[in-house]
Symmetry: C7
Subunit: 76 residues, 7 copies
């Protein structure tokens, strides 16, 4: 049984992902790269939790703060 | 003694599961895949905690945020 | 010195156990299977924390949310 | 240097121990068995936190919820 | 580079140590033994957090609840 | 698949990084060095969470307190 | 890539360090020794969080309670 993080996120690089964080924030950005701990780098990241989005630039996020990742489907 | 996550979830792929999360939310969706850490991918996921369900699309959830998974029985 | 989870739970399969959870809830059900991390599957599980019991069906619970398990004695 | 859990608890089987838990509760019972993670089984366990003691029967407790164990001395 | 818990606590056995706990309590007692996880056994332990000290007897404490240990110096 | 912390942070030494911490504070400084646990040393670090910045000097931060690191881009 | 805790703290023994703790307290003292988990022993330690400093003597601190360490620079 393979590691599900790799299985699910492979193919998402260069695409937009939506991160739902354990602190209830929501961050959107372009997935640059990731590892098996769900540590990941986003480009053009934005905190979109509030109506006024906050530009975060290029960020490295620790995987243990992430609750779920909405993945792009083939249509998106 | 086998790993209970694999034992219980094998055979549930393609079926609807109900996740009860540590943050008291409830998420329902079609189980695509999982690993031994309970990391799992759902399709057509919905946050059904409140009366108005929130569509989450295809999501990868970290297993350490999950409290329990209601599994489909043979009848469901 | 053996692993106490296996020692204590072996022989409880098919019997009713009462789980006291870290979130103060109490869940009762028939123990189907378990592993050394206390991950376990219950059949006919019920959340009996409140006066109105909530039927949970067949559930897989992560062991790290469990505080204690009341085990059946030979009389029960 | 030996594992202190084994060193301290060996010899306490069959005796009454008092568990002080991380959730501030106090549980008393007869120690049946334990492992190096401080997972332990008590017989005739009682939650004695409040004036009215609550009978818990035979319970398996996860060691990571325990804060301290008052051990019987030779006199007790 | 040696393990600092062993380095610091070796030589303290039989002496009085003061534990400052993560739950803000303070416990004093005679150090009987310890291991590299800071699990330790105290004799004649007392919870001295409040003005009225509470006698705890002989206790085994899990190291992960300890914040700091005041060590005896050569003068003490 | 490489470790993403190394991948993302290599090349950032000597540059200014912005740390967003799990306790909601924001710290800025010049990255001196780091390891794969995201433990890192900053020079001229400043807590910029409040309007009045607090000078922290040269600090070693534990990686497990970090939520995200805003990385310099080639333009910055 | 070396372990950053060793890299940063080597050379600080015998010097004064300032610990910022996860419980928001601040402790100052002379660094005697440390290990790769950031467990460390301070001499003449003082809790300087409040205006009235509290003398802690010689203390062994668990590294997992530490948020950051302000390191002496060559000038200090």
């Amino acid at each position: 049984m393979a590691d599900e993080i790799s299985t699910a996120m492979t193919g998402c690089q260069g695409k937009t992902v939506l991160l739902r964080l354990r602190n209830s924030k929501t961050v959107q950005g372009t997935l640059i790269d990731f590892d098996i701990h769900m540590n990941l780098t986003l480009d053009n990241a934005e905190d979109i939790s509030e109506e006024n989005h906050v530009n975060l630039g290029k960020v490295l996020l620790r995987g243990d703060n992430i609750f779920a990742i909405s993945l792009p489907t083939d249509k998106s």
